[in-house]
């Protein structure tokens, strides 16, 4: 039987603010447990919450970017349950009037645009962290995280494949970074994802009579793998005419399986009621207009600009904007290129300029991205400055160095951060464009390869390439290939 997965994601994003959601404790990395705590975020008697305005603003920016409906009024509610990581015995969250209502998010899956509905995105406080003693019958609680602002973004069950789920998450992460609202690092728990998944027969429109929630996926890859595993598990059950249980399952990464955690046959009653310690929020049209104005350029607008202004193709532009820091870096390289083009009186609209930009894009997405991924570095953490990057592009574009040699230079730059023109000298990789020197090499090769010369005259392209290659070899890879081929052509025509 052929089934179609019905997947919805609940994503929790830790917002980057100076202080926590309802108190003045720092919202920051801590060097020891219970470092950033106060009487409010540890639930001492008599304490009261006060709303962090910055967290509300950042939540609304996400809502605007996800095309969410923003209500006139929003309020906080108490979600009641007991757990040692929850200091007050209730979490301040939002129930029926979230900051952000229905919206949609367009993601790019295999070159296709997919629209995923957003159910809501509401603001709440994070809980602390339990630390279980390796030995002994106790656990410790670290409240550094307790009270950190958390935006929960709930998608509609519009996702159909594990890959789509992964891309949705990646693009959501990228969006958070564009908006500057969160570092959204999954490994650090800034971005956490729970998935709801069930299967229905292909062609059916109604939702299956069950739903499995999968938790504990700590990377994009884990989300994809866990969903693949669930699809297989549920398919096997359905094929045997069994309905999978309504339950929460946990992903076990090293075993590559999900295991049952608790049944959801009876839903827990959180007894939500309005938080009496906090006022209802009211958003004026002026406030929202102002907030919209403050929205930074988002990935799709940037992609459009890259294509229209920099003549990048859609695929390159999409890959670039999908990685905000790389896009930023690339743009800084382009602005360096612009600077010396201006200095050299090269028209910014000219083909010459476009050639440099294209080279910068290729090198950003090629060698640079590969080296970054290998070293697990962010563009800004690499040793190559944007200025040096641009200089190397200029050297390639003006024929001072061959693409091949440039690769060696680039690798060295990445390793040491050295200046490319210095490396060109010290590594002896300057491209030879001097026609006299090149002609001597070409003539030497042709004299030594009469058959090659004959073939080039009769058999065309491939045989011609042989002569170019031999000449390059003679020049230890430093010859300008364009000039070499021109010279060979001239010699053959003689």
């Amino acid at each position: 039987m052929s089934y179609e997965p019905v997947i919805g994601l609940e994503v929790h994003v830790q917002l980057k603010t100076a202080s926590k959601m309802f108190c003045r404790s720092k919202n920051a990395e801590a060097s020891r447990p219970n470092q950033h705590i106060c009487e409010i975020c540890t639930g001492q008697p008599g304490t009261l919450p006060v709303i962090n305005k910055e967290a509300v603003r950042k939540s609304l920016m996400v809502g605007l970017a996800l095309n969410c409906e923003i209500p006139k009024y929003s309020k906080f509610d108490r979600k009641n349950y007991f757990y040692p990581d929850l200091p007050k015995g209730y979490q301040i969250s939002q129930f029926d009037l979230p900051l952000n209502g229905k919206g949609k998010f367009e993601v790019h899956v295999n070159g296709q645009l997919r629209e995923i509905g957003i159910t809501r995105a509401h603001l709440e406080e994070d809980a602390g962290k339990l630390m279980h003693a390796a030995k002994g019958d106790y656990s410790l609680v670290d409240y550094n995280r307790a009270g950190v602002p958390l935006l929960e973004i709930v998608s509609e069950p519009d996702i159909r494949t594990p890959e789509e789920a992964k891309v949705y998450l990646q693009e959501l992460q990228n969006l958070m970074r564009y908006l500057g609202v969160s570092d959204a690092d999954m490994e650090k728990g800034h971005l956490r994802c729970d998935a709801n998944i069930s299967l229905r027969k292909k062609g059916e429109k109604s939702f299956p009579p069950y739903k499995v929630e999968v938790k504990n996926m700590n990377s994009f890859r884990a989300v994809e793998r866990a969903l693949i595993f669930e699809i297989k598990r549920q398919t096997e059950m359905l094929d045997e005419d069994k309905t999978p249980a309504k339950e929460t399952r946990g992903w076990v990464d090293d075993k590559g399986i999900t295991v049952s955690q608790r049944s959801k046959e009876e839903s827990q009653d959180y007894r939500y009621f309005p938080e009496p310690d906090l006022p209802v929020l009211e958003f004026t049209p002026e406030f929202l207009t102002e907030l919209k104005r403050e929205l930074p350029e988002l990935p799709q607008a940037r992609k459009k600009r890259f294509m229209e202004q920099l003549n990048l193709n859609a695929a390159d532009a999409q890959t670039l904007v999908g990685y905000k820091e790389l896009s930023d870096y690339f743009e800084e390289v382009v602005s360096e290129i612009d600077d010396w083009c201006k200095a050299d009186n090269i028209e910014l609209s000219s083909d010459e300029h476009a050639k440099f930009v294209k080279l910068a894009a290729n090198w950003s997405l090629g060698q640079f991205l590969a080296l970054l991924n290998e070293a697990k570095l962010n563009p800004n953490d690499s040793k190559i400055t944007q200025e040096n990057f641009a200089e190397l592009i200029k050297m390639i574009g003006t024929g001072k160095v061959s693409q091949l040699s440039a690769k060696d230079i680039f690798a060295k730059m990445f390793e040491t951060g050295e200046d490319p023109s210095n490396l060109l000298e010290s590594m002896g990789l300057a491209q030879v464009s001097d026609e006299g020197a090149l002609l001597a090499a070409v003539q030497k090769v042709m004299a030594a390869n009469p058959k090659g010369v004959e073939d080039a005259k009769t058999k065309g392209e491939r045989a011609f390439g042989f002569l170019v290659g031999q000449s390059m070899k003679e020049l230890k890879g430093k010859g300008n290939p364009q000039i070499i081929s021109d010279l060979i052509k001239k010699e053959l025509d003689k």
Binding site: E39, T42, G43, Q44, P45, G46, T47, L48, P49, V50, I51, R78, N80, F82, P84, P87, K88, G89, Y90, V141, D269, R271, F273, P276, D277, L278, P279
Partner: protein, 484 residues
């Protein structure tokens, strides 16, 4: 006159004139308390060391001519209000060894004036009760009759002021917990508008109803203290940024022409005849002072108590969740996490908190919330409107504070009859309006009886003006004999 009989204003004058020192004044009160409070049990703890330090600071300030009106004045604080480093049990076993880690905003403001802290006073557990019998640490007695209750839940603070162990005291008022004991103990008890005084550092009972309250012998003293602690607070979003009038300078405004409404629903059946007579005499007195009086209806009055006993327990059920044996306070061991929760809360809480947690949990559960909690919130709107409508025609309302004078210890053994002790005070909390109870007379058997004045939201000055005029005209001393 003995030192413990002084009003705040009188004591302040003596301190400023250097007739007495702060050290002598607080020393005299603490000495008196040592014998007196063994039987009365107004206090859960005396803060003698702190009192000495406070008195030294006060005396130094007086010496350097930088004294303020409350400098050197001995005061007491209900044990559900936090002062850093000092116990805050809320009258519960579950906070038996809890020491506050910070100071309530209102207390910080007060302390700027350098008063002298005498101790922390007894209360019904988590301020749930009307007699102070629900305290995990034993009941407080009424200074006028040791066989009777002082009222509650702020019974300790009321008794402390009535018995001269402190010249003023703080309580909290969620449904009448300041006004009702003030009436039973023959002192003035004031509950401000919801949002007038910061709640930061008050152990929450009903978050949408709680306010800090003030006890003193005179309205004049209360006005001065209210002035000191009122106003917005960046730690409490519900403390509103409304201007605080200069209460003390408005005290002597004329009562002539004031329109005072008599809500007919508050004089229906069930009032003790002596209480009714004292209130009617008080109304007459206001007329003599030049006020015009007229009947008014607050038609939803009968729903106030029922509304209260839905909204309050729902908030309680969440507010008391933090007492879980995990981070502070009483913790009973168990084999599992679940057992630690159950054991700590079963043994830590008394009967009344448990009852209200259960009612509140039920009333906010899925499937019941609409019928109970949401309905109660709608009723709250109607009750609130009753008051705002009445205040279109009247400046103030006058009612009895309680249907009866102080009752006997152990007399009200079923919860419902105890809840009815707040029948005239609870509506104000539901509506959020301010009120004050002022001693107005004594019963034949020598028990004090108070009247309650009610003002519109954020019009506390009207209570003080009318109350002050009333007190001045009522040439009657309220002074317990303090016999067993």
């Amino acid at each position: 006159m003995e030192l413990h009989e002084l009003t705040v204003k009188e004591a302040s004058e003596k301190l400023l004139n250097k007739e007495i020192s702060a050290k002598e004044l607080s020393g005299a009160l603490l000495d008196r308390a040592k014998t007196l409070d063994k039987d009365l049990h107004a206090f859960l703890a005396f803060t003698e060391e702190r009192a000495k330090q406070d008195a030294d600071s006060a005396d130094a300030a007086i010496k350097q001519d930088r004294a303020m009106p409350l400098t050197g004045i001995p005061y007491a604080v209900k044990d559900n209000i936090l002062i850093e480093g000092i116990q805050a049990t809320a009258g519960s076993k579950i906070l038996e060894n809890y020491k506050a880690t910070y100071t309530a905003t209102s207390m910080k403001r007060l302390m700027n004036q350098l008063p002298v802290l005498i101790g922390k006073t007894n209360l019904d557990e988590f301020a749930m009760g009307s007699s102070t019998e629900n305290s995990a640490y034993g009941p407080t007695k009424n200074p006028y009759d040791m066989s009777r209750v002082p009222g509650g839940s702020s019974g300790g603070s009321a008794a402390a002021v009535a018995s001269g162990q402190a010249l003023f005291a703080f309580g909290t008022d969620t449904g009448g917990s300041v006004r009702q004991p003030a009436s039973f103990c023959g002192v003035v008890g004031f509950k401000p508008t919801y949002g007038r005084i910061s709640r930061y550092g008050l152990i929450a009972l009903g978050s949408s109803l709680d306010q800090l309250g003030i006890f003193a012998k005179t309205v004049e003293d209360v006005a001065l203290i209210a002035q000191t602690v009122s106003g917005p607070d960046e730690y409490d979003s519900t403390a509103l940024n409304k201007p605080v009038a200069d209460y003390t300078s408005l005290l002597n405004n004329d009562v002539k022409g004031m329109r005072i409404g008599i809500p007919k629903e508050y004089f229906a059946s069930g009032i003790d005849p002596e209480v009714e007579k004292i209130v009617k005499d008080a109304i007459k007195r206001f007329q003599d002072l030049g006020a015009t009086v007229g009947e008014v209806s607050l038609p939803h009055t009968e729903y106030a108590l029922a509304t209260y006993y839905i909204i309050l327990p729902v908030e309680v059920s969440a507010n008391l969740s933090r007492y879980d044996g995990q981070r502070y306070g009483f913790s009973a061991p168990g084999k599992t996490l679940e057992e630690v929760y159950v054991n700590s809360r079963s043994l830590g809480f008394g009967a009344e908190p448990k009852r209200r947690i259960m009612i509140g949990t039920y009333a906010s559960s899925a499937g019941y919330s609409d019928a109970y909690y949401k309905k109660a919130k709608l009723a709250q709107q109607l009750i609130r409107k009753d008051f705002t409508d009445a205040f279109e025609k009247f400046d103030l309302l006058i009612t009895p504070t309680t249907p009866t004078p102080a009752f006997k210890l152990g007399e009200k053994s079923d919860p419902l009859s105890m809840y009815l002790a707040d029948i005239f005070t609870v509506g104000l909390n539901i509506a959020g309006v301010p009120g004050i109870s002022i001693p107005a007379g004594m019963t034949q058997s020598g028990l004090p009886v108070g009247i309650q004045l009610v003002a519109p939201h954020f019009a506390e000055e009207k209570l003080f003006t009318a109350g002050h005029a009333f007190q001045k005209s009522l040439d009657q001393k309220f002074k317990p004999t303090l016999t067993k």
